[in-house]
Amino acid sequence: MSSTFDRVATIIAETCDIPRDTITPESHAIDDLGIDSLDFLDIAFAIDKAFGIKLPLEKWTQEVNDGKATTEQYFVLKNLSARIDELVAAKGA
């Protein structure tokens, strides 16, 4: 699995005190790991800092609320990692 996932998983484990070995690429941050919106702010902060990006949480939330996207697209960790890679690539473009 990508190093992005490993870094995200480590961030989640350390930020939310979740055993690292329970976090997989298929884990849904909310549904499987039980991370609530407030705790996810800490994760977003750590990800923003670690990758030098700004996770567009408001845009994602709006898309989910509008039915234009599912939470799985953004909060299943392999998908979250892919979104992070896209943001990093866009920043460097």
Binding site: L41, D42, L55, L57
Partner: protein
């Protein structure tokens, strides 16, 4: 300060948009019913109100950075340390700076000092949202005028 109304900021002393910092002043009142209970015979400014004062200073900084278009709401307090007592009548200087501006949230660091000596500090997280109604927006604009918030930073329309 008007503790009963949670007015914990008296005036903005310095607001630097470029540096993303703010300094405000707040005079702790000599008399308050709060001091009658906290504590009888030994009045102290409650730590939760000092945290609130740091949150309010931070909040005004964030409102300025957002051109008065959105409102920060207190979401989390970390590493809050009450280092020394704050007593009635003391003049507080509350300084805050932005640690991070995320999407829909922001984090600040803030500290309270008296006479240049630190009394408490905290790292604070805010959720950022649209003003929920015109009443609150109007209240905040009135408050902005009271504490010397730069009027040119208030976006209208």
């Amino acid at each position: 300060m008007d503790l009963a109304y949670f007015h914990l900021i008296d005036r903005i002393a310095d607001l630097d948009i470029g540096e993303k910092t703010i300094a405000v002043e707040a005079q702790v009142p000599q008399q308050s019913t709060i001091f009658e209970g906290h504590f009888p015979g030994y009045p102290l400014m409650p730590g939760v109100l000092l945290i609130e004062s740091m949150a309010q200073a931070s909040g005004w900084l964030l409102i300025a950075l957002m051109k008065f278009e959105r409102m920060p709401f207190l979401a989390a307090v970390k590493e809050a340390k009450m280092r020394r007592f704050v007593t009635p009548g003391e003049l507080l200087r509350i300084e805050a700076s932005v640690v991070h501006e995320g999407s829909g949230y922001a984090m600040t660091q803030a500290k309270v000092s008296v006479g240049g000596k630190p009394r408490c500090n905290a790292t604070i997280t805010f959720g950022i949202a649209a003003f929920p109604n015109a009443d609150l927006r109007g209240h905040m604009e009135a408050m902005a005028g009271r504490i010397g918030f730069p009027q040119q930073m208030i976006a209208h329309g």
